[in-house]
Amino acid sequence: MTTAETPRQIAWARRRASIVRTWREFAAQRAALAGLVLLGATVVVALLLPFVSDESDLDVTKATGQPLSPPNADFWLGTDNFGRSVLLMTVWGSRVSLLVGFSAALLSVVIGTLIGITAAHFGGWVSATLLRFTDFFLVLPSLILAIALSAVLPKGVGTIIVAIGLTAWPSTARLVRAQTLTIESRPYIERAHALGGGHLHIIGKHVLPGVMPLVLANTTLVVGNAVIADATLSFLGVGDPNSVTWGLVLESALNNGAISRGAWWNVLPPGIAIVLVVLFFTLVGRGLETVFNPRLKK
């Protein structure tokens, strides 16, 4: 083999090395690693569920248990008001909750990134307008906006995703804008400008790869928030009644008097599931931030 490498190869080698380095830095944080492993496990379980469990067991007309029976050998976490297994509902609930979390986060991060980069890159009145726009939405209480949106739109998973996604983007936009400004102030961007690189080239080749890591970290944190927001919307009665979600299990336990009956097994599992999943996302997100955010590096 020759020792001469093409610039492309060099770039790839560098990129690989950087990924390995990032991974090592990330993995050195035990909490973040633990969060990632547990999160991975949760996602795998959620994805594999249809192969190992029958969704029709969630159908009330097929329920075999006594209503609100406490945990026993057949139902490890007891049953709900209609005799369905709470364990099964909690596990199945992860699917919609995660779906809503990921989709809403994705939506908000895409919007946020677009606005953030545009606001930083173009400057002038575009930037000023977008900045004002972002600041306006940044200060509005996002949960209140989300409530308003989901009260107005027809009920369904899509509405929840849109309601959360459309209201959670401003902080991402701010973050991305700051990062873009930092990157664009570096000399090599000026060189790229001088060499005649267009907007698309500079954004695509230099800015986007530069902000991506931080956006990734940010996304993880936003997912956690979206999961909580989803549960909160369900609790307030504007959620989707057609699918089993953690928020819905909690809301119906409240609504049908399970709490009066002392059926703690209807309230604790979904609540703890929310806390754990959000905690996993937070740990991973903070881990990523520690690695990627120059501010936090010492």
């Binding site: 209140i144 700051a178 928030n225 709490i259 309230v267 740990l283 501010r295 936090l296």
Partner: protein, 341 residues
């Protein structure tokens, strides 16, 4: 919600270019806040016009109403006019403190009155929770950062991260169940309290405990994490090393130099986060039947009583905008760098 570390970036990202006079700066911020408030009004007005259903038909559903009466009602409510005329009327009313009338909850009552009587309980709840959360959060954050990676730091960070992952309404329910009758479960007054001022005050405080602790639990965690990370950022700064080199005692260095500098972005953030505290109050008030704006929102949502929802949201969002204006002005006053540059 904004995550703590992100939030630290957000504050830094804010532009604080100097050069303009203070008066001009204040004026500019005032105008911006005013525009924001107008935008809030526009936003919620048109958002709630998207809802399906004829408000007049809904209003009269339980009563026999003739077509003439319906037409009259439409005219009175102004819903027969084009939407822009409606907006004009609404805005004109707003300038005079008129937020429309409730349709379901308190039919015919001015929304402004309903909000007025609910405002103080919410201010009391949000205010006391924020105050306690700030004190607790900042203090714990400082200690945790100063003794980084000690058992204390790890315990506190762990607790904060966990609390921060808890849905507020669930935490409230758990507290309600676990304390089982130690504290009143509803409202903010007990009808049996003696009429003297001391008993009344104690009575309200007694009712305040659970909702306040619920709100406090999540928000102190946030402030603690923010304070911790911004202090960690400060601690590596050169001037601290210099101060230490000069032989200053550790706690003196902490008190005189690092903390005041780290406090600045944190307190600003406290103001910026007031919006999410207010949103948190909605669910917490609903859990504890606290007679504030959050409870009103919850009730109005189930109607839905649109004029009330619109009014509450407009007032809440505008209040948050104004709090932010205050934060920015405060930042200007507090930050020596911004002032002198």
């Amino acid at each position: 919600m904004t995550t703590p570390d992100q939030a630290a970036v957000l504050v830094d990202a804010g532009e604080h270019r100097g050069g303009t006079g203070t008066a001009r700066f204040v004026l500019k911020k005032l105008v911006e806040a005013l525009i924001s408030v107008v935008l809030v009004v526009v936003l919620f007005f048109f958002l709630f016009r998207m809802l399906p259903g004829d408000p007049v038909a809904a209003m009269t559903r339980d009563r026999a109403t003739s077509p003439q009466q319906l037409a009259l009602l439409r005219e009175q409510m102004g819903v027969d006019k084009p939407v822009f005329v409606q907006f004009g009327n609404y805005f004109w009313g707003l300038l005079h403190g008129d937020l429309g009338e409730s349709r379901l909850l308190n039919n015919g009552r001015p929304v402004a009155d309903m909000i007025g009587e609910r405002l103080w309980p919410t201010i009391l709840l949000v205010g006391s929770a924020t105050l306690l959360a700030v004190i607790l959060g900042l203090w714990l954050g400082i200690r945790a950062a100063w003794r980084r990676d000690s058992l204390f730091d790890r315990t506190q960070t762990g607790i904060a991260l966990t609390l921060w992952s808890v849905p507020q309404f669930w935490l409230g329910l758990m507290l309600l169940v676990v304390t089982n009758g130690l504290f009143p479960s509803r409202g903010m007054h007990s009808p049996d309290a003696a009429p003297d001022v001391l008993s009344q005050t104690l009575d309200v405080l007694h009712h305040l405990v659970l909702p306040c602790v619920t709100l406090l639990a999540v928000f102190y965690a946030q402030y603690m994490l923010i304070m911790r990370s911004s202090l960690l950022g400060e601690m590596n700064a050169d001037y601290l090393t210099t101060a230490r080199a000069k032989g200053l005692r550790d706690d003196l260095v902490r008190r005189r130099h690092a903390v005041p500098n780290a406090l600045l972005p944190t307190t600003t953030l406290v103001f910026m986060q007031i919006g999410s505290v207010v949103a948190g109050a909605v669910t917490v008030e609903a859990v504890f039947s606290w007679p504030g704006l959050g409870q009103l929102t919850y009730d109005a949502l189930h109607g839905p009583d649109l004029p009330v929802l619109q009014g509450v949201f407009t007032v809440l969002a505008s209040a948050v905008v104004l709090m932010n204006l205050l934060a920015e002005l405060l930042y200007r006053v507090l930050d020596p760098r911004v002032r002198t540059s």
